[in-house]
């Protein structure tokens, strides 16, 4: 059986490419060695948050950014891809109620109280927008060790906001009953929030402690499959606007995103194989004909007409540096650009400095096809998306999910255009 498209990697880039293709009726299989990206990042779509200072409007900043950084993934994409991908994403994941856009970044509080620019946020996080200032109260839950509202509030109150707005922030600590287990993960709390009786206790304890006009910030644990109902229920019960603040991984918001996208993929008849890592390729000249994946018994080849490599960067192992300092792309051994050679320093001495290896990854042509050693696309029908690409330092630019979404969408678009 030959698939129309084989997507390697189940992060946001891979799932986006796969879903876009599957909904156009293509036979798609996603092969991934595990679950990654979505569960580690918050569910917001950061397109461009910082470019030598916070970015107010990605729509205004992007063309110039892309022109200045032609090697950045944003510099490789046609101008309409980023806005189209956001539009598509918002529509497809309609049950998560994403809001925002490229015109103006929202400013959301991080778990340490930094005001971070981001373009698209799920409805459960939108009320945390700091752009107009406001009064916020942050709720800590005893037993959740990944959220410190007092620390957050103290920093947030001193955050520099545009337009001279200011934020008043304070913290409140709740101690819901937990049973024998005192160390409950974010997911554990999310499951508890899905229960009405738990929510009622929370509302009962919290409501009398709220001041008028306060917007209530919880850690991002407000439910899993029924997040919308949980959030609406809390807003109704507290009589206040409520929002979530993302905390340490695993990200509950990311889990919701993963569940929604994989459910959508399954509905479209796509196949998802998790726990099988791609290890090699079969080709016919410049055409990739199949990728070889490891299974329990013997390797299995997934044949396809088009392929998307969305295996992630250094954190997922899609790129790696061996003990002799050589950088490699680990699945197809494509050449890695931007990595210092063995013996050259890869990192600067200051933790927050710019590190020589930071933007390393695959260089792609204008069709998002990774280049081989000779500077031409390695294969005519192989595309690359996400953190595998060179040129971006997503945690500094606040561009992670934006790069994944737009390049995943872009790669799928290229495949669709090429399909008869």
């Amino acid at each position: 059986m030959t698939y129309d498209a084989v997507v390697i990697g189940a992060g946001l880039a891979g799932l986006t490419a796969a879903l876009r293709l599957a909904e156009e009726g293509l036979r798609v299989v996603v092969v991934a060695k595990g679950v990654g990206g979505t569960h580690l990042a918050p569910a917001t779509i950061d397109v461009l948050g910082y470019d030598d200072g916070p970015v107010e409007s990605p729509a205004r900043a992007l063309p110039e950014f892309a022109a200045r950084h032609p090697e950045h993934p944003y510099g490789r994409l046609p101008a309409d891809v980023i806005p189209s991908s956001l539009e598509w994403f918002r529509e497809r994941l309609d049950e998560l109620g994403y809001q925002g856009g490229l015109d103006e970044n929202l400013l959301l509080p991080t778990a340490v109280g930094v005001a971070k620019p981001t373009a698209l946020v799920p409805q459960t996080m939108a009320a945390g927008d700091l752009r107009a200032g406001g009064r916020f109260v942050f709720v800590g839950l005893r037993g959740l060790k990944d959220f410190y509202p007092a620390y957050l509030a103290e920093n947030l109150a001193r955050a520099a906001l545009p337009g001279g707005h200011s934020v008043r922030a304070r913290a409140v600590e709740l101690a819901p009953r937990l049973g024998e287990e005192r160390d409950v993960s974010g997911l554990g709390f999310a499951e508890r929030f899905e229960r009405r009786d738990f929510r009622e206790t929370i509302v009962r304890e919290l409501k009398p402690r709220l001041a008028p006009g306060e917007v209530v910030g919880f850690p991002a644990v407000l439910g899993l499959r029924h997040a919308r109902e949980v959030w609406q229920d809390l807003e109704a019960g507290l009589g206040r606007r409520v929002f979530e603040v993302p905390t340490l991984p695993p990200s509950v918001g990311g889990m919701r995103l993963f569940e929604s996208m994989t459910a959508a993929l399954r509905r479209k008849g796509a196949r998802i194989v998790v726990g099988s890592s791609v290890d090699g390729a079969e080709s016919d000249g410049r055409q990739l004909t199949g990728v070889v994946a490891l299974t329990a018994g013997r390797p299995r080849t997934y044949r396809g007409r088009a392929f998307v490599l969305a295996s992630g960067g250094f954190s997922s192992g899609g790129l790696q540096v061996d003990s002799h300092g050589r950088a490699r792309e680990t699945i197809l051994d494509l050449p890695v650009a931007g990595a210092p050679g063995p013996g050259e320093p890869r990192f600067a001495p200051g933790y927050l400095d710019e590190h020589p290896i930071a933007g390393a990854g695959l260089v792609v042509d204008e069709l998002l096809r990774p280049l081989g050693a000779d500077g031409a696309p390695a294969f005519e029908n192989l595309y690359a998306a996400g953190a595998t690409l060179a040129g971006a330092v997503p945690w500094q630019e606040a561009s992670g999910n934006g790069v994944s979404l737009s390049t995943g969408y872009g790669a799928a678009s290229e495949i669709l255009q090429g399909t008869p």
Partner: protein, 515 residues
């Protein structure tokens, strides 16, 4: 200005200083210890973690070997809780001369190091990761020792006997009167004020910095810092201390200590013990040497690399001072330099710290004209009374049967919230770094990726730090960690570091914290 008076003022909070202040206090002297940083941040906190059996010195330095034999047994009796009885192996690899094994065995027998040659199969059964081509193997009673437990144990014991322990007190000057050192002027770094300490005698136990301290009294102690690097590998590739059976050289020991295994070390003379740079060449050398003992070492995950400075003294000192052995030096400045009230004890190794302290306090007794016997060879430290060695699985067992019945703040090192808060309570002037050292917070594979944010939040919640201090503590930790991590960032640890970057910079945005 605050003023303190005491009989014995000890400068230096490493194992030597802690041993001296404990011994002095136990012998009934009033004593104060000052250390410019936290206890054990110098050489003691950066060494290999090895409690020598003496085997390493059996051929080259028999006196040192004999000392190790005696002290090893004493520490096993009195500081059992700080020690893991890993045992030691000396193995002959194919890069080593098998004949040296005979010299080695002979040297051990002559110096009293308990040694036994075992069949190679037995060694490989004990340590399956060893290179199977080894030709000879010997067992010796090496062990691994927890420096912080040891130093803090001594400090606590000293306090119990009336001593005062003052970390973050930097010596600015040694005050003299008519050719006699009468005390020191120190700066309390946390309170930001100066303190004058008057003492009958000042003991310079500043290790690699002993020369700097001696200079303040106009004396010259030529301590030449010998830099050695060490790399901690993510898990215990071996559970026994493994030594190369050859004349001592670089990178020939792997020590399993707590959850990691540490390879070391190198030996480079440096000028300044505060400037210890780790070079790529040294790192490659350690990894290559490790590979000779444990095939696959190079590809195993390396957590961090650091350097310590051995306090080596020049040979001239040996000839012209009264010393107990070549391994360490006790300098009586009254005799040598005409400066009364001042002695220096330097050189040595943590394994013989108690012996050095005994020598120093014996000299103190002489100076003060009293005869009080030393009891540190008998008296156990708190927690070691029952002679039970540290057991690796203890933290794991302690969490059973409901492991998450308490919040676990640092998952890699299984540190619960209660333990963290107890550590904070015990030391009122604590900061994140002090806590980190004592509990090993953030020292596991994730190198603080998850726990440091939690610990900062807790410190802030407990009102130990306001937000500003919490922010700078967090950033300082990240920088300190980075120092030890970026030189060996490759493979798995690079993946970890990238994830940590996503967390700290991407998710939390620490680089944008308000000033």
């Amino acid at each position: 200005m605050r003023s303190l008076e005491t009989e014995v003022l000890v400068v230096g909070g490493g194992s030597t200083g802690a041993g001296v202040v404990r011994d002095a206090a136990m012998r009934g002297f009033s004593a104060i210890l000052v250390e410019r940083g936290d206890l054990a941040v110098g050489t003691t906190g950066r060494f290999h973690g090895l409690l020598h059996s003496g085997g390493r010195y059996a051929v080259k330095d028999p006196d040192a070997a004999r000392e190790c034999v005696v002290e090893n047994a004493i520490l096993r009796r009195t500081a059992a809780d700080c020690i893991e009885d890993t045992g030691g192996l000396f193995v002959t690899t194919r890069w080593d001369d098998p004949a040296f094994g005979d010299e080695f065995e002979q040297g051990c027998r002559e110096t009293g190091v308990p040694v036994e040659e075992i069949p190679v199969q037995e060694a490989l059964r004990l340590e399956p990761r060893l290179d199977p081509t080894i030709s000879r193997a010997f067992t010796v009673p090496d062990a691994s020792i927890d420096a912080w437990k040891l130093v803090w144990g001594c400090a606590r014991s000293a306090e119990e006997h009336g001593a005062e322990i003052l970390p973050y007190h930097r010596v600015l000057d040694l005050e003299q009167d008519d050719g006699k050192v009468i005390g020191a002027l120190v700066k309390d770094e946390l309170a930001g004020e100066e303190v004058r300490i008057r003492a009958e005698i000042v003991v310079n136990a500043a290790g690699a910095w002993a020369g700097h301290i001696a200079e303040l009294a106009g004396c010259k102690v030529a301590v030449l810092p010998g830099k050695g690097i060490m790399i901690a590998m993510n898990h215990r590739l071996v559970n026994t201390v493994v030594n190369r059976c050859k004349p001592p050289a670089d990178g020939d020991i792997i020590v399993p200590i707590r959850t990691v295994s540490v390879i070391g070390t190198t030996d480079t003379r440096v000028a300044d013990p505060d400037e210890l740079e780790v070079t790529q060449a040294e790192i490659e050398e350690m990894l290559d040497e490790g590979e000779k003992l444990v095939p696959g070492f190079r590809e195993a995950r390396a957590l961090r690399v650091w350097a310590g400075a051995r306090p080596l003294f020049s040979a001239e000192e040996v000839a012209s001072t009264r010393d107990v052995s070549r391994a360490h030096a006790l300098v009586d400045h009254a005799e040598r330099d005409g400066v009364e009230g001042f002695i220096t004890i330097t050189g040595g190794k943590t394994t013989t710290f108690r012996l050095m302290a005994e020598a120093a306090v014996d000299a103190v007794c002489e100076h003060l004209g009293v005869d009080r016997p030393c009891r540190t060879q008998e008296e156990p430290l708190a927690g070691s009374e029952e002679g039970r060695f540290y057991w690796l699985g203890s933290r794991l067992r302690a969490r059973e049967p409901v492991p998450r019945s308490e919040e676990i703040i640092c998952e890699c090192e299984l540190i619960t919230r209660d333990r963290l808060e107890a550590a904070i309570t015990r030391r009122p002037t604590t900061n994140l770094d002090d806590v980190r050292r004592v509990l090993r917070l953030g020292m596991g594979p994730c190198q603080g990726g998850f726990c440091i944010y939690r610990a900062t939040g807790i410190l802030h919640a407990r009102e130990r730090l306001d937000h500003r201090a919490a922010n700078s503590s967090l950033l300082a930790f990240l920088q300190e960690r980075w120092k030890g991590v970026h030189p060996i960032l490759r493979g798995d640890q690079l993946r970890q570091a990238t994830l940590d970057d996503w967390i700290f910079q991407g998710l939390l945005g620490v680089q944008h914290l308000p000033e």
